[in-house]
Amino acid sequence: MLGFVLPLLAQVQIREAGSGATTCEGKNDAFCPGFVIDNINDYVSPFLEHIVLVLASVLAGFVVAMVLAIVSHGRRWLIPVFIGTTGVLYTIPSIALFLLLLPITGRGTVTALIALSLYNLQIIYRNANAGLANVPDAAKDAGRGMGMTDRQLLWQVEIPLAVPEIIAGIRIATVSTVAIATLAIFAGAGGLGEILYNEGIQRDVFKTNIVFGSVLAVALAISFDGLLVLAQRFIAPWRKVRAL
């Protein structure tokens, strides 16, 4: 397995960390703001790649999870099947999953997206499922009793009432994907992993990049979460929520 990983790592862009032992980056101090400012352009594309990875995989996971949730809504026996399947996928370690997918989808963004989406699938499906199950019986009874068809009940009552739980799932999925997507580098898909693992694995850990990469990841996670909270306030104003 290691023999398979190393060639991957060899593709990672290696950045000059500094030339002498006198500079901040040369001494590999905890954080060198000057280095970051000088090389700020080098951080832009990994950061953007990371955003794309997170957004695309959460979106894909959400769409598939909702389809599964709606399919299993009227067929309750499917729920344990779906939870089991997505659960098993969720337990596969991400690097292993990248490697498993490599022979099929090759190196690159597609592989990373498939793996990340599969993780999101489990989280969002479970939440969507719980959301639909938690719709108050009284609301369903009233809806049916007033003449809603099953489909009207689903789209006008059950799904809207499940929105807070679905968004809660998306929030968890998004935040954890921001973290997991740093490993997309091992599938050759770039992202913040490019900054974090730059040189670090082969040589000494370059602390400035570790710190700055982490800060970017945390900032991204908090921003996405905040946006999702805003989205929920807009979509489900009847339910109060708090940000991270």
Partner: protein, 374 residues
């Protein structure tokens, strides 16, 4: 009609047959598990009928798809079931929207209904969680009335509301019903509520067997069997009184006395009167008080009597409340006054018990024959 659930040994509702008259409130009442809710749910087919049929205005409920049928029936449940994610206005507009009403027509109807249930117009944009339980159930009723359905199904609609608000909302609904005259099927386990709300009451026993179908007064006067008698309660005489007003019964004539009158005259009047006391009244026959032996020992009737006339009973008051006042009074007699305060007669415990006894006898002699029986 009959309902038997799959796997059950006995029918949940067995051969129940009822005729509900248009514009009336028919109450299904019985202990838990008697099948009253199941019976009601068969009407809108949220529970399917095993055998038999239900007709509304001569058309079977099975003639149309359930969803369509239900849009023409108001549906109110104990848990209220407002949609938490929709505003009050949107909740009320549920059925109109399902029926494809225009935006203007729907908005106008919502405004009209909010006024009908006496909620301020500014609740329209609030969410159900922002309203009290009583207000929520008013909205539940408004929502059921939105498309002006001829039939209303109400399953313990006021069961989850605190006693004070329940009383209020019951009265509101009765006032509303007097205006809108819906045909209402009303389920409750509370016999007092049944008596209060029902034009007719169907008492069900376990297995959905109809024990008796009668007006509240008939039910209280002549329970069909021990089960009904038991269910109606040992205080059924009091419950009957709750259905009547003081003016509904024959009062005793009041031995009236006026200030300055010769007491001999008054004493003569008392001879053979049903009331052993004379009532001093003013020029407008308003009661001033009872005359005591000492008062009558004088030559002239005094200006101020010894004994206060209280309690004064309103002739339009509920008989049961009047009885309660009587029991607390010193004399067990009380003057009954009209709206202007003038004495119209005397109510006593004896009057009430005589009345109850005579009515009881009358009903046993002539049982109501025109009961639509099942």
């Amino acid at each position: 009609m009959t309902k038997r659930y799959r796997g059950a040994d006995t029918d949940a509702v067995s051969d129940l047959s009822l005729e509900v008259l248009a514009g009336e409130i028919c109450v299904l009442v019985g202990p838990s598990g008697c099948g009253k809710t199941t019976a009601m749910r068969m009407v809108n087919r949220t529970v399917e009928i095993t055998s038999g049929d239900i007709e509304i205005g001569g058309t079977s409920v099975t003639a149309r798809p359930p969803a369509q049928l239900r849009r023409e029936m108001g549906y109110v449940i104990q848990q209220i079931g407002l949609f938490p994610h929709r505003t009050i206005a949107e909740n009320i507009a549920t059925v109109p929207l399902l029926l494809g009403w225009s935006r203007e027509r729907t908005a106008a109807r919502v405004a009209e209904l909010l006024e009908l249930i006496s909620l301020p117009a500014d609740v329209a944009d609030r969410y159900p969680a922002q309203l009290s339980g009583g207000q929520q159930q008013r909205v539940g009723v408004a929502r059921a009335l939105a498309a002006d359905p001829p039939v209303m199904l109400m399953d313990e609609p006021f069961g989850a509301i605190d006693p004070i608000n329940r009383e209020r909302i019951q009265n509101e609904f009765l006032r509303l019903q007097a205006e809108i005259r819906k045909t209402v099927l009303f389920v409750t386990h509370d016999i007092d509520e049944a008596i209060k709300m029902g034009d007719r009451i169907a008492v069900l026993r376990e297995g959905g067997h109809l024990a008796q179908y009668a007006t509240p007064a008939e039910l209280l006067m002549a329970p069909a069997d021990d089960f009904v008698e038991d269910f109606v309660g040992a205080d059924r005489a009091l419950k009957r009184l709750a259905l009547m007003r003081v003016s509904d019964i024959d009062l005793w004539e009041a031995p009236l006395a006026f200030a300055g009158q010769d007491t001999a005259e008054v004493r003569a009047k008392l001879e053979g009167a049903e009331v052993p006391w004379a009532l001093l009244v003013d020029g407008e026959r308003k009661p001033l008080g009872w005359l005591s032996e000492r008062d009558l020992a004088a030559v002239r009737v005094p200006q101020r009597p010894d004994i206060s006339p209280d309690p004064l009973l309103d002739r339009d008051g509920v008989l049961r409340d009047a009885l309660s006042d009587l029991l607390q009074s010193q004399t067990h007699y009380a003057p009954v006054v009209d709206a202007r305060g003038a004495t119209v007669g005397i109510l006593s415990l004896a009057v009430i018990s005589d009345f109850l006894a005579s009515e009881e006898a009358k009903v046993e002699e002539h049982p109501p024959t025109e009961r639509p029986l099942g």
